[in-house]
Amino acid sequence: MRLTRLRIIYLSCLFFLFGFNHIKAQNSNLYYYQELSHFSLSKLEDSLKKNWTCPNNYKEKETQKKFKELWDSRTEFVTDAIKNKNFIVEKEVYAYLDQIIQQLVKGNSKLLSAKPILLIDRSATVNAYAIGGNIVAVNLGLLSFAESREEVALVIAHELSHNILNHAQNSMEEKAEWLTSAEYKKTVNAVLDSKYERYTRLKKVFEEYSFNRTKHSRYHEGDADSLAVVLLKNSQIAFDAKYFLRLDSVDVPYKKPLKNSLKNYFVGYSLPFEDSWTQKRSKGLSTRNYNFSDNASIADSLKTHPDCTERYLKTMPWSVSNPNKTPIPTLLKEKVNKMIIWNIFDNRNLTACLYRILLEKDKTGNDKWYDFMVYNIFAALFYADNELNRFNAINITSKEYISQEYYELQNMLEQIPRENLYQYCKNLTARQFWQELSSDEKALKIFFHTLIDKDASEKSKELAAKAFVSSHTNSMYCEFADHFVRK
């Protein structure tokens, strides 16, 4: 009896271990393909389309019609984003953010009577946003940038405040009222009545409107900041006004320099490298010193958010001195960074993708997944080059927005000769790191072989894509293969 029980336990352990390793070996992915929103949020999409109906707020038909137009376009924005896989329901990231939301809800039951719907936006931008309808979206970029749980909580609380204060709906109502108001019609008709400078007059009408709206928007942001502080306090989450000062540095992700010279990263893969590739050879205007005045940052009057310093000063009185900061788990951050990198790759912004990988390599050293992604980038670039689309795959950015190393990397990807690009693909294919990768990652390499084969027909590429998808249905890399399957 005893032996039998032990056997059962042993066999169960074996089964568990086998099963776990089997699943793990099959899928060392960051997430399942089905966790992308086109699968995981399809029910929400349907629900929003059916149930998110515009309230009848206005007796005037015209205003109600305009309000409904704005309401419906908001719904369409969200449902399209779900369909286009902009969101993801990855368990670990979701659980982390959901925990923060639950804490905020628990501490503010009167203000947050219903638990908000959380959407995780795959964007790299450091942002979160409130859509109204008790929906809040948090970008992966925020998790990547933030240094502590408290920082993330502040941003979430700020967005929840927008929803509590009904800012989204108020904005839509204000816009509908303005667009159907007698005053607006009078000013627009005055434009029509004028013989000259119609464009300037019309522009002025909307500039004034935008000025008022952005001023209003700044008030909204100030209100959301204040309420966010209250929400945090009620939830016993420490608030430090200095988080606002950090937000000033979010707009420059690609200005961060690399630790090493560009050459070192490629020499590390035994890839031939010529310094001349990184030097801009163009005689074009991009190499000249231009300085047009309208290139300056948006005038203060048109900013939708108050200055970060202003936000800091306003909320400083409620700051906790020397607050305890709970760091975001390192593994979670690494996962988020990889998810961002994959998303940028799938959106074919290869320079940004490679630069982020090099920044991660500066931090984490040898992670085989990054080596795998380096291969994918060069294979994708070679494929784009074959399709006369290298330019769009590199997504050339003006030098004033990027670091010197990013600029050099961009030049390199633009100017590396075709033969050398092919050599890179070939050399990377033969590297040792492939042995430690999962089956779907190896299968992706095989799929790329078909893609970059000049003799392969479009039909064979589609068949290869279908074969990958059918053999690795859960793989996150199906997202890439899907591009080549005709719908």
Partner: protein, 525 residues
């Protein structure tokens, strides 16, 4: 990453999208029109410029916006200004200064209620060539106006309200040509009903000199080092001949050379290209040697096969003196090229006659003559019919009227190399789209569907030839003598075109008919 349009413009556009049906937005948008031009320096593309007429500012003038993009289509900045009715002709760049050349007119382009109103306006017509100089800080530093005489006529068209609107149309007799003079500034040529004018400006836009050129039927402008060269075409017995090259000093406008284009036997020369030699940077002229007897017959395939041209030439204008000029003439009929080329220019290797339309110079002193190949075949059916109809084996006039006993086809492109010593070789026959045979009276311009241009990569010193036909675009590497790629114009719902771009690159434009978007890409060759 593209920069956003100005915030206010995007606001207007976004609301315009919402209010698409509104009359005011429709009317305001109808007033807006744009022209796109490339910005060149030393004959290389370095950027793009969009010139937009935003609105009528008052009775006489308009508000304009100039948007400047770099060679990768990234926005650099914009400039707003007000002026009378302008039509942008050309843009050049030198020493951090943009030079724009316009035609300004208070009549051309306007629409009038009646012929009477048009004639009344014509009495007060004023036209001018305008040069405008803009710095890379977005400041307009200088504007120059030069009155010109333009013959203006009336036509009918749609003005947004009626299809019978009376429009004033007219164009400059000799269009504006604008070039930079390296390290010196700019030069501009234009010709009206009275004069042909050549001007030079310093980099800040101040006119240095202006001179009137002798009358001619056509002009072409080239700058080389510090000098300005004019290729003019005068009337003469040979309709395609009459060319001469005159050199002017950029600093004071003094003429320092004049070279009449004829071969040593006095035959006229037809110019195909007038450019700077990539190896020396000096001017080079190349083209066909016109046959003194048959040279005025060049419209139909039959003419070409009879011997319109005697050969090809390259003339290097290395300096002002006669001894500086290097002439290379290659004749079909002097025996030096036989048996490969007959006296009437039939190439034995591909059994065809060349119809050159372009030349390419490489770094090694060779000239490549590029054009379509004309194949001649006998219409045996026509001859048999004529034998039936005319027992004396005289071709029936009926058969002759229907196109004779020969038929012709233009299918492939051919590339013929002339080396520095005048030796000719058929370098490559580039397969073209399938084509049909035509009778001998078919105009060649209608038969020949190909267009050609070359791209030079100065880093790899490689020349590429782009052969653009109806169905396919072929990219040929002249140095390695192989076809790099063939791009189909139409692939499913996508229509692809290729245009010149920054040096060593092409612009690929793909229009998806189904999804209604255009994707632009600038690709290296």
């Amino acid at each position: 990453m593209k920069r956003m349009l100005s915030f206010t413009l995007s606001c207007v556009i976004s609301v315009m999208t919402v209010q698409a049906q509104s009359k005011v937005f429709k009317e305001v948008s109808e007033e807006i029109s744009s022209q796109m031009r490339v910005i060149t320096q030393d004959d290389a593309l370095i950027g793009y410029l969009a010139f937009t007429q935003l609105e009528k500012a008052n009775a006489d003038s308009f508000n304009y916006k100039i948007s400047i993009m770099d060679e990768n289509l990234n926005d650099i900045g914009s400039v707003n200004f007000r002026e009378e009715n302008l039509n942008l002709q050309a843009v050049s760049f030198e020493q951090d200064m943009l030079c724009l050349a316009y035609i300004k007119s208070n009549v051309i382009g306007n629409n009038y209620a009646s012929t009477k109103a048009f004639k009344k306006a014509l009495d007060k017509a004023k036209h001018a060539v305008v040069t405008q100089f803009i710095s890379l800080q977005g400041k307009i530093l200088q504007t120059n106006n030069y009155n010109v005489d333009i013959t203006t006529s009336e036509t009918y068209g749609y003005n947004g309200a009626t299809y019978n609107a009376h429009f004033a149309v007219g164009k400059l007799k000799r269009p504006v040509v604008l070039k930079n003079i390296p390290q010196k500034g700019f030069t501009c040529f234009y010709g009206d009903e009275n004069d042909n004018n050549l001007l030079a400006f310093n980099p800040l836009g101040k006119q240095v000199w202006k001179k009137t050129l002798p009358k001619a039927d056509g002009f072409s402008l080239l700058t080389s080092n510090n000098n300005i060269y004019i290729l003019s075409k005068k009337k003469e017995k040979m309709l395609e001949g009459g060319f001469e090259v005159t050199g002017y000093n950029s600093e004071d406008g003094k003429q320092f050379s004049n070279y009449i284009l004829k071969d040593k036997k006095g035959n006229s020369l037809k110019v195909l290209d007038f450019e700077n030699d990539p190896a020396t940077g000096k001017p080079v002229v190349s083209g066909n040697i016109i046959n003194s007897k048959y040279g005025n017959n060049f419209m139909t395939p039959k003419h070409i096969t009879k011997g319109t041209y005697d050969g090809v030439f390259t003339i290097l204008l290395n300096g002002p003196k006669k001894s500086d000029i290097k002439e290379t003439f290659s004749y079909w009929g002097d025996g030096s090229q036989s048996p490969n080329i007959s006296t009437r220019a039939k190439f034995s290797e591909n059994e065809s006659f060349p119809r050159f339309s372009e030349t390419v110079r490489d770094n090694n002193g060779n000239t490549y003559f590029v054009g379509s190949s004309l194949i001649k075949k006998t219409k045996w059916g026509a001859i048999a019919s004529s034998v039936v109809l005319a027992p004396l084996i005289v071709v029936s006039p009926f058969i002759l009227a229907m196109g004779g006993t020969q038929k012709y086809k233009i299918k492939d492109a051919m590339l013929v190399k002339q080396n520095a010593n005048g030796g000719l070789t058929l370098e490559k026959v580039i397969p073209g789209d399938d084509a049909r045979f035509y009778p001998n009276r078919m105009p060649l311009n209608e038969m020949d569907t190909k267009s050609y241009y070359s791209v030079f990569n100065s880093n790899t010193k490689t020349n590429f030839l782009i052969v653009d036909d109806v169905k396919n675009i072929v990219i040929y590497n002249i140095n390695s003598k192989k076809i790099e790629r063939t791009v189909s114009h139409k692939d499913g719902q996508v229509r692809t075109n290729i245009y010149p771009a920054k040096e060593g690159y092409i612009m690929v434009s793909e229009y998806n008919k189904k999804e209604k978007y255009t994707r632009l890409s600038i690709e290296a060759l």
